[in-house]
Symmetry: C2
Subunit: 334 residues, 2 copies
């Protein structure tokens, strides 16, 4: 195998096939992928299906806690999970810059294969394009995914008093990327929360009738996702700042760089709206998952004032409006 990606690896002929067999099939190996011609073909049962897509342009490609490949697989898996679907199959499209080191590509592909194995998800169809030096910044990945809706889950009417749960500490992915971009030297346990939410999904199964809505707070962070939930519910949200799980290190770094962690992306967290009678039980269940030990009820739904609004009660007892993200934020965090 060559040490670097060349334009001929994208020619659609012998060299492309060589790359596919030596790198992609090696790590994504499954019958559907290997036997696919122009599409992957599989059986489906009658039911409801979820379909989603995301392109990943994160910079840098490798960061504490993950890399673009881990992000690409987890991101699409998590979009399916919060739609109430069991993720089944992913597609994967690579756009690679000429000269990209083959060993880095293989590292990324290896991580993707690892997450697939852990979660039982299969990459069944793919595409590889190579563009000339300067036409893309290293490597971009698109993943699309399909899943089958579990036990007939669907978003349910939201009521006053329903609890809002977050499954772990916030802002960890966004903060980690900021640190790497600003090349800050920081000590402590600072890494991305990037992980698949399939285990949380398993834990939620027996409580699914009490789960009214799920959402993953990626770009725009917790604040933006909660605003979308308020809009969807046509209600206000009342948050308690002191209940929001966030690591001390994350708070300190964000004070230093002047970013608001409420608007920074999570890549392994879920927000849930649940029946208030089941809130504590669901939190207890979620906390059993590795990485979700800090899951908490962070607020509740309240009657709407003039328009759907998220209010936050601060540590010192004040109350302020938490709008959706406006204006500039660190680009290319996912």
């Amino acid at each position: 195998m060559d040490n670097y990606i060349k334009l001929i690896h994208g020619n659609g002929g012998k060299d492309t096939n060589h790359l596919i067999e030596e790198i992609f099939y090696k790590h994504f190996n499954n019958e559907l992928l290997v036997n696919s011609l122009d599409s992957s073909v599989f059986k489906v049962s009658q039911g409801k299906m979820a379909f989603t897509t995301d392109s990943f342009v994160v910079k840098p490609l490798f960061f504490s806690g993950g890399n673009i490949g881990k992000l690409a697989v987890c991101g699409t898996i998590n979009d399916l999970v919060v739609s109430g679907a069991r993720p089944l199959y992913l597609s994967c499209g690579f756009i690679i810059e000429e000269g990209f080191p083959m060993n880095l590509l293989e590292k990324i592909v290896h991580t993707m294969g690892k997450i697939c194995k852990e979660t039982g998800v299969k990459i069944v169809t793919g595409d590889t394009k190579v563009v000339e030096k300067g036409a893309v910044d290293g490597l971009f990945i698109n993943t699309s995914g399909i899943g089958i809706i579990n036990r007939g889950y669907e978003p349910k009417p939201i009521k006053k008093g329903d609890n809002i749960i977050v499954t772990g500490g916030i802002a960890e992915h966004g903060t980690t990327i900021a640190i790497e971009r600003y090349k800050m030297k920081v000590k402590g346990n600072l890494k991305s929360d990037c992980m698949p939410l399939t285990k949380v999904m398993d834990k939620l199964e027996k409580h699914i009738s009490s789960v009214k809505l799920m959402k993953d707070p990626t770009r725009g962070g917790l604040a933006t996702a909660l605003n979308e939930i308020a809009q969807f519910a046509e209600m206000d949200i009342h948050l308690l700042e002191e209940q929001i799980p966030i690591k001390k290190e994350m708070v300190s770094v964000n004070q230093l760089i002047g970013l608001d962690p409420l608007y920074l992306a999570c890549e392994g967290r879920m927000i849930l709206v649940v029946d208030q009678n089941e809130g504590q039980n669901i939190v207890k269940e979620i906390r059993k998952c590795e990485g979700c030990e800090d899951a908490k009820i962070i607020g509740s739904l309240v009657n709407i004032g003039s328009a759907p609004t998220v209010f936050i009660e601060t540590f010192i007892g004040g109350k302020r409006i938490l709008g959706p993200l406006e204006g500039a934020m660190l680009p290319r965090i996912c």
Copy 2:
């Protein structure tokens, strides 16, 4: 709406939503898309499904006969069609360079919406990323697609004597892109063949039991696709050069620029392997579709020699081996 794409259009907050509503929803408008949260959710019946993906990095973004958006929608539709599937839903991921003109984006999105309307295919889920100036060359699009396998179609055992059909003139897309890239001034009817193959699919329906394999000759052109068919069939292929439909203008331009049209991409053609008793009837049927008037039987399957090989009998009666694409070819043709 702004005149140019800004980084904040990719922040995942208000500005992203504004872009989505003003540009994407306007042209892709359908209930599944507008009501989707993190995924699009829809019912499926028991059966077989095809799933495929492609990223599009074509340069230039606009060319005679189409643009990157037309290519992105037709490309994925056609991959589903040649898998025997009726295309249903597409996903669509945009990666856009900061400063990209909004009117060009809308032109591209408009074309995508138009092809969707013509073919009855829906874009039901999407993603938009904006990267800083220089991190991507203008605009890249990924489309993934799912379709339902028509009438239980599947690839069938291929036999000696089976006919090979191509649905129209070859090399038109690749040649058009080459002309634009080399900024050649050429007169005549030179444009990309880029089009959806859904109408051809409709015409084939009543003959589907005689269709053994379908393939679209994109990157790597007719020659590479036929080599893949020979491999799949474990047989040799015997082509008749004089039967291969190609416009005179395409021949002349390729003589001038020194490219071999047998290796240049088509983006609106299909190769079929069909039962020899039905070959002529199927050609007659295909020719009824607009753009397929030149459909022809170009060769047949013959017993294998030592390894699956494609032979071509030339105009002057010689016979040569036609290998798969090796080495450099014009990059970024799709």
